[in-house]
Every structure is written in C-alpha cells, then in structure tokens.
C-alpha cells in the first residue's frame, strides 16, 4: 500500500482529475453560473490546452533538470489531455449540437474555429491509440515520427481558441506564448541553452550530477 502511495503516478493522476472533480462539485452545487454548458465547454477546452502544454514541457524539463525519469509520466499526462479533449468534444456534440449530424457537419465545414478544433481532436486519436508499450515496440522509429503530430495539435488548439474569442485575445495569446516557448526550447539553440543551464545548475547543487542529458523527443 505504501509503495502505491509513494508512486508519483498516483498523485499525478489525482492532480489531473481535479479539474473534473471541480466541474462535478460545481455542477452539484449549482455553481456553473447562468450558462452551465458554456462553462463546461470552456473549462474542458482550457484543461485540454493546459494538458497539451504540460505534456510538452516534460522533455524541456528533463533537459533542464537532468532527470531522465520524468519521461515516465509523459504518457499519463498525454492520456489525461486526450481525456479532457474527449470531454470537450462530447460536450460539443451532445450539449451544444444534440447529436445532429447535419448541424455538426455544417459547423465543421463552415466555421474555421470548429474545423481547426475538430482536426486537432481527430489527430489526437492515433496518438492515444498508439500510447501503449506494445504499440511503441511495434512502430519502432515510426512511433516517434507519428507522435511529433502533437506539435501540430497544440498549434491547432491555440488557433482554435484564438479564433473563437470575440475580442479579448489576452488568454489565447498567453497559451500561444507558452507553446512558442516550448517549441523554441526544442530547436538546437533551445536545447543547447537548456543543457547549459542544467550543467550550471548541476555544478551549483554540489554532488548532484546531471544524469542522462541525451536529447530525446
């Protein structure tokens, strides 16, 4: 039991369930405001974006801290991102469109922000499906190529948000800025900067040598 409690995966999973727990608690307490469906749509969309950004920060964090083992938590973060994306999608087709296929099809074709959001969701599906160890082994090198789709997905996610707000672009631009930073940190220049910072950090924290700073992701 204590081994289970000491496993960070349990705590990360619980942390990842907090946004859902909050929505349920607010729903039970009538705290979703005058437009609950809009609230749920917004919230699940926000947490999908946050999930994407958190998942994308694993690799830069590994380089910065030199802790290669962080990679162990990436799959779970990615799957929780897919979970919130699915909730977001279901909210849309159920509570917004009431499973009206014609209306949904029209919406996807006619409205650029829906087109972009829908594409992002569809692209997430193969990543979720191929997230198992068996699939990683089976796909080999192609697995990594496939999973680079996440960069495009995150970009589509930010554009989706940017195109749906009426006027105030502050929040979408904040997400866009964070994504831009995470992408730049993957360029040769960014990787070098992270490694340099990591070395300096390692030297300061006497005795703790950065282990395994080999580039990944």
């Amino acid at each position: 039991m204590s081994a289970v409690l000491r496993n960070p995966k349990l705590w990360i999973a619980l942390l990842c369930l907090l946004p859902l727990g909050r929505l349920i608690a607010l729903g039970l307490g009538g705290g979703l405001g005058a437009n609950p469906i809009e609230f749920i749509t917004r919230s699940t969309g926000t947490w999908t974006l946050v999930g994407l950004l958190v998942t994308l920060s694993v690799t830069p964090l590994r380089r910065l801290t030199g802790r290669a083992d962080l990679i162990r938590y990436r799959r779970m973060l990615g799957l929780f991102t897919f979970f919130y994306a699915s909730l977001h999608f279901v909210t849309y087709i159920w509570l917004d469109q009431f499973f009206d296929p014609a209306a949904i099809a029209r919406d996807i074709v006619k409205r650029p922000f829906i087109t972009v959001g829908f594409s992002a969701f569809v692209l997430l599906i193969p990543l979720a499906v191929t997230s198992t160890h068996a699939m990683m082994r089976r796909l080999g090198r192609r697995w990594q190529h496939l999973h680079r789709l996440v960069y495009a997905i995150a970009l589509l996610g930010v554009i989706h948000y940017l195109w749906l707000v009426k006027k105030d672009l502050t929040e979408p631009l904040l997400y866009g800025g964070a994504l831009a930073l995470l992408l730049v940190l993957r360029l040769p220049w960014g990787v070098a900067a992270l490694n340099a910072a990591s070395t300096r950090w390692g030297r300061q924290a006497a005795g703790r040598k950065p282990d395994g700073v080999k580039p990944a992701g």
């Binding site: 349920i24 729903g27 039970l28 405001g33 005058a34 437009n35 609950p36 469906i37 809009e38 749920i40 509570l95 917004d96 009431f98 029209r106 919406d107 006619k110 409205r111 650029p112 922000f113 195109w163 749906l164 009426k166 006027k167 105030d168 502050t170």
Partner: protein, 313 residues
C-alpha cells in the same frame, strides 16, 4: 453530468420574483441600516435594487418565462468592467450614477444637458418584457422598466439633417476598470437610424424587475433595442447625438466583417465564425430556433423593406 432539465424543477422550488425581491430588499434594507448606522445616512432610493415608483404595465409582455433576476444581473457583457461574463457584476460597484448628465446634442433644435433625475420623470415609466438575443448565441427574457426613446427625441426636435442617432457610453477609467485595456475603441459608441430610434419598441431603460437598474446592466440609463443583437443597446449613456452621417459603432470599428451597423437578429445571416440559426435561452437545456428580428418582425420588418439584409447585416 447534472444539468437539470427545466421540467425537473418542481413549481414549488421556484421562488416567485416578488418574494425573491422582498428577500433581497430585506437583506439590502439590513445592509442599508447597518451602513446608515455607521455613516449616519438613510437608505438611498436611487441605488440599484430600490423599487421604482409608479411603473405602469404595458402591452409588451411575453408568454415566455422571464430569466431569473440572478442570471440577468450576473451574466453580462459590459467590457467597461472586464471581458468576462461575471466581471461586470463583480466590478461595477465603482460606477457612480449620481450626479449623472445625458447630453442631447447635434442636429436638434433643443439641445439639452439632461440631469438623470429630470430624465427619469420625462415620461411615465412602464414595464416591458422583451427578448434579448446576444450575438454570441444566448438569449434572455428581461422585464425592463423605462419609456420609449421617441419621448426624448420628440422633445429634442431633430432638424431635417438628423438621419442617425449616436449613443455614447461613459468613458471614465476611474469608475470603469475595463477601460484600461484597449479591447475596443473607447468610448463605447453605438448608433441607430432615426426611424429605428423613433420606433415604439426602442426603449430607454432605467430599471429591470421593477427596480433601479443595477450598475452591471447599464445604470443609470441604457438603450434597449429588442430586435437587434444585444451589443446595439448601449449602456450607461452620457451622450445622445443626432447626426447626418451613419455613425461607426465600436464593434463595427473593431471587426467590420463581423458586426454591421444594423446587426438585426437574423437566423439566416451567420456571424462569420458561428451560426446564428439557434440560441441557448439562459436556464434552458436545449437550444431554441432564433426568430427573425428576434420575434419582432411584425413590428419592425417594414423598416427594412427592400434592403438586402445579407449585405446590410
């Protein structure tokens, strides 16, 4: 997912508005007493929530249920107090509605700076229950209190040059924290064609649910044009100007392809980024079909005869 269908709510669970308001008044009364005790002043009859006296009934009623007071006063678009829906209710307390002057000027024979209290007595107040459709795809039913704008226009005596009316909202960053961010070109400006402004449906509202207008709903005086998207109904008005040329409204200036001058509610003309065919009535689960001119076609369609409403959206 715990979203209640309207039918889930037993009639006994719904607080009748009179009782709801009585409770609110009781609480406010207690608050006012406490404040009065602290500062040596009595309750302010002009404050939001105070009952408006002498409000007449009108023929403008709907069979549709009114949106609860709480939703009408906590779910608002009023960017002068922030762009979030709950920002205005939280931040509009800093708005001072007295003293307040509304300048009536431009192409009129009788320009006048109206003191708000004189303006309140200009014509008998009546209650009108109107649908309110936001351009974002949600709607409410609101019992406004006010009088037709044409009462004011007639007293101003527009000249032959007056073709349009421009409405300007207060622009004071000390009272309106949202003005510090440049989401729109301040001051908030809206406009109507003179015949639209003269239309008997066009209301100058000073209250809702029989009470003084809460700040977040556009106190002390606002426009209500029920057949147009909500943003056409300028709030907290300080200037009404009669002009010859079509005014450029703030939303049109911000995104001319998305918000036209007319902005009549029209299910057939989509916003470029979302459909206008349906709407979510606040408090309801399923979406409703949006009605042409928000259901006021019989009264206003003639204003637009011969106009291509797809082009002049």
């Amino acid at each position: 997912m715990l979203i209640r269908l309207p039918t889930d709510i037993a009639p006994s669970e719904i607080t009748p508005p009179e009782i709801y308001r009585d409770r609110r008044r009781f609480m406010q009364g207690m608050g006012a007493l406490a404040a009065g005790a602290a500062f040596g002043i009595g309750p302010d009859a002009r404050a939001a929530g105070a009952k408006l006296a002498g409000v007449r009934d009108s023929a403008y009623r709907l069979t549709e249920a009114s949106t609860p007071y709480k939703d009408v006063t906590t779910y608002n678009n009023f960017y002068e107090f922030g762009t979030g829906k709950s920002d205005p209710a939280r931040q509009a307390g800093s708005l001072k509605t007295r003293p307040w002057t509304v300048a009536v000027e431009g192409e009129v024979r009788r320009p006048q700076a109206w003191d708000i209290d004189a303006l309140l007595k200009l014509a008998p107040l009546e209650e009108r229950v109107y649908r309110m459709r936001c351009v974002e795809g949600w709607s409410m039913v609101i019992p406004w209190v006010g009088y037709p704008l044409n009462e004011l226009i007639r007293r101003a005596e527009p000249t032959g040059n007056a073709k349009y009316v421009e409405f300007v909202t207060l622009n004071d960053p000390r009272q309106m924290p949202g003005l510090r961010s440049r989401v729109l070109d301040w001051p908030y400006t809206e406009g109507l064609r003179l015949d639209e402004a003269m239309h008997p449906l066009t209301l100058l509202a000073v209250g809702l649910y029989g009470e003084v207008l809460p700040n977040q709903n556009g106190a002390p005086i606002r426009l209500v044009v029920p057949w147009k998207y909500g943003f056409k109904s300028a709030k907290s008005i300080v200037k009404i100007r009669f002009v010859e040329k079509q005014p450029v409204s703030s939303w049109t200036a911000a995104a001319p392809a998305e918000y036209g001058f007319y902005s009549n509610v029209n299910p057939q003309v989509d916003h470029p980024r979302w459909s206008q065919a349906k709407e979510r009535r606040i408090g309801e689960f399923r979406k409703r079909d949006t009605l042409m001119f928000n259901g006021y076609g019989d009264q206003v369609a003639s204003l637009y005869r011969g106009m291509d409403l797809k082009k002049l959206f």
